[in-house]
């Protein structure tokens, strides 16, 4: 296992040297498979009449793990899709490592950016190993097995995806993203459909792999606890704009029960609840009875 890891590291080095010479823009040659720096300037996105994102300014330094939280429909997934090159920006600019992305070149999809989707999107007609090796040149197919080992599924290499559990499928999807040695990994609610225990295991796995590889990561999630458990920085997206930029300075690995953790989570929750369109309606109706009860009700509704 150790040897395999070294081979991967070595291949990553080679690739970085090549991409550095090709790009020329990055003056410093990366020492290892390092993260990408992302800069958004006034980015907006509209589908027809409907504006989803409006004037987003955001700078993510290399290697940072950023979580994006927000209600459904707030535009958090759209932001991720723009960075992935799956959608094109309607206004503003996106720069990777200080180089403006020109959406015209190769339909906007970069080789060093990979997405992990909420539904694992494994090809059901390919065995697990072949799924991980998807899009790899033949000469690098060997690496797929090593990465599958990293996510702890080496023994399921020859199974059909239909035979895996939800958590295992997401681990395969993670391996499939990692085998490309992304410098920016985009996670679109990857744990949304998993049960609580599997989620906690996945948190540890994602954190471990992120720390080992040093890529920049962007995690879209609807769970404030998940955001605080994993991220260096939590962004709250609301009505197509960034409403809050919260730095999480807790030491890793983070204890979910600690007071500092709870305080941060409370702050985030409060801010999220403030934006509840139902809240101002509920508050004037005080004479109906206990306010604290209403408070809990809206909290519960949010959680659901």
């Amino acid at each position: 296992m150790k040897q395999q890891g070294m081979i991967i590291q070595h291949a990553g080095l080679e690739r970085d040297v090549v991409s550095a010479t090709v790009r020329r823009a990055s003056l410093v040659e990366p020492q290892r498979q390092s993260g990408i720096a992302v800069q958004l300037r006034g980015v907006g996105k509209a589908y027809g009449e409907k504006t989803i994102l409006n004037g987003i300014d955001l700078t993510i330094p290399p290697g940072e793990l950023v979580a994006i939280v927000g209600r459904s429909g707030s535009g958090k997934s759209t932001l991720l899709r723009l960075l992935a090159g799956l959608d094109k920006v309607s206004g503003g600019s996106v720069a990777y490592d200080g180089v403006l992305s020109s959406a015209a070149s190769d339909n906007g999809i970069r080789e060093d950016v990979r997405v992990m989707f909420q539904d694992s999107r494994l090809l059901p007609w390919k065995k697990v190993l072949a799924n991980v090796a998807l899009g790899l040149p033949r000469s690098r197919h060997q690496e797929a097995r090593g990465v599958l080992e990293q996510v702890g599924l080496a023994d399921r290499a020859d199974d059909w995806p239909a035979h895996l559990s939800g958590g295992q499928r997401q681990r395969v999807a993670l391996a499939r993203a990692l085998v490309h040695k992304p410098r920016l990994l985009l996670l679109d609610e990857p744990l949304g459909a998993l049960d609580a225990l599997t989620r906690i295991e996945m948190h540890a796995l994602i954190e471990h792999i992120w720390r080992a590889n040093g890529f920049t990561a962007l995690l879209v999630t609807h769970d404030p606890a998940e955001a605080i458990a994993l991220a260096d920085r939590v962004l709250l997206v609301e009505d197509g704009a960034i409403a809050m930029d919260l730095r999480v300075d807790l030491p890793r690995p983070r204890a979910l029960g600690s007071a500092a953790f709870a305080a941060l989570q409370d702050r985030l929750l409060r801010r999220l609840l403030q934006a509840d369109p139902a809240a101002p309606v509920a508050e004037p109706a005080q004479d109906l009875g206990d306010i604290s009860l209403q408070r809990t009700v809206s909290e519960v509704r949010w959680a659901i």
Binding site: R114, F117, R121, L123, W125, K126, L134, G135, P161
Partner: protein
């Protein structure tokens, strides 16, 4: 059970041999036809016609389905025309086909091809159009395009639908061949059956009909086996 009752009814004379011969009689007719070698010659001729028609018509259907399914321009170019032609029953073409090809082999092969073309065309087209958008998006974002995208994502995704088309086609193939052969032929199972009718050989007619049933079932088994092999990843095709 059914065969026993049938045999009893025939041998007791409850049922005239002219309407339905006894199973034993049918078996005897089958045996004599096998000994004379007639039956194999006819089965061979019919199967070859069916196969040729299936390969030509099915191949074209698959090809056109892939084209119109994959390229929007091809769809606007061909689809309306093909949908119009589809509404003509292939058997309605018989008079015209006899005029064009006479009554030799090509006429039958042509009819089978026309009949087999549309189920495969429609199902291939539909299969390609209904490939999971999410998987396509994922594959593109993982750097797949062109032929690898087609081979790894689009074709396997369309395959279940294409195989449904194959099964439909195989069923239609025999139906059309039977009609074509009974109308005009100098050989084949249909010819044998029609010939037997001239001489009131109900037992030989029944052998012919049973042969069609057996051949049809064989074709279906083949299609089923293909599905089982190609769709072994699909949960509904797995033994467990």
């Amino acid at each position: 059970m059914l065969i026993a009752v049938w045999q009893l009814a025939s041998s007791r004379g409850w049922m005239s041999n002219r309407i339905l011969p006894a199973p034993l009689g049918v078996a005897k007719a089958f045996w004599t036809l096998t000994l004379s070698g007639d039956i194999w010659a006819n089965v061979k001729v019919s199967s070859l016609r069916a196969l040729a028609g299936f390969v030509i018509g099915g191949g074209l259907g698959l090809g056109f389905g892939l084209l119109t399914g994959s390229f929007k321009t091809m769809e606007t170019l061909f689809d309306t025309t093909l949908q119009m032609v589809r509404n003509i029953p292939p058997l309605a073409l018989i008079p015209l086909v006899i005029l064009w090809f006479g009554i030799d082999e090509s006429a039958k092969v042509f009819l089978v091809s026309v009949g087999v073309f549309f189920p495969l065309y429609l199902n291939t087209f539909h299969g390609i159009r209904s490939v999971d958008r999410g998987l396509l998006e994922m594959a593109r974002s993982y750097g797949l395009s062109g032929w690898p995208l087609y081979r790894d994502v689009i074709l396997p995704g369309a395959l279940p639908s294409i195989l449904v088309g194959v099964r439909f086609s195989l069923g239609l193939m025999w139906v059309i061949l039977i009609v074509a052969e009974t109308i005009s032929a100098q050989s084949g199972i249909g010819y044998m059956t029609m010939n037997a009718r001239e001489f009131l050989q109900t037992d030989v007619m029944l052998v012919g009909i049973l042969l069609y049933a057996v051949l049809g079932k064989l074709a279906d088994l083949l299609a089923n086996g293909l599905s089982r092999y190609w769709l072994r990843w699909h949960p509904s095709y797995q033994a467990t």
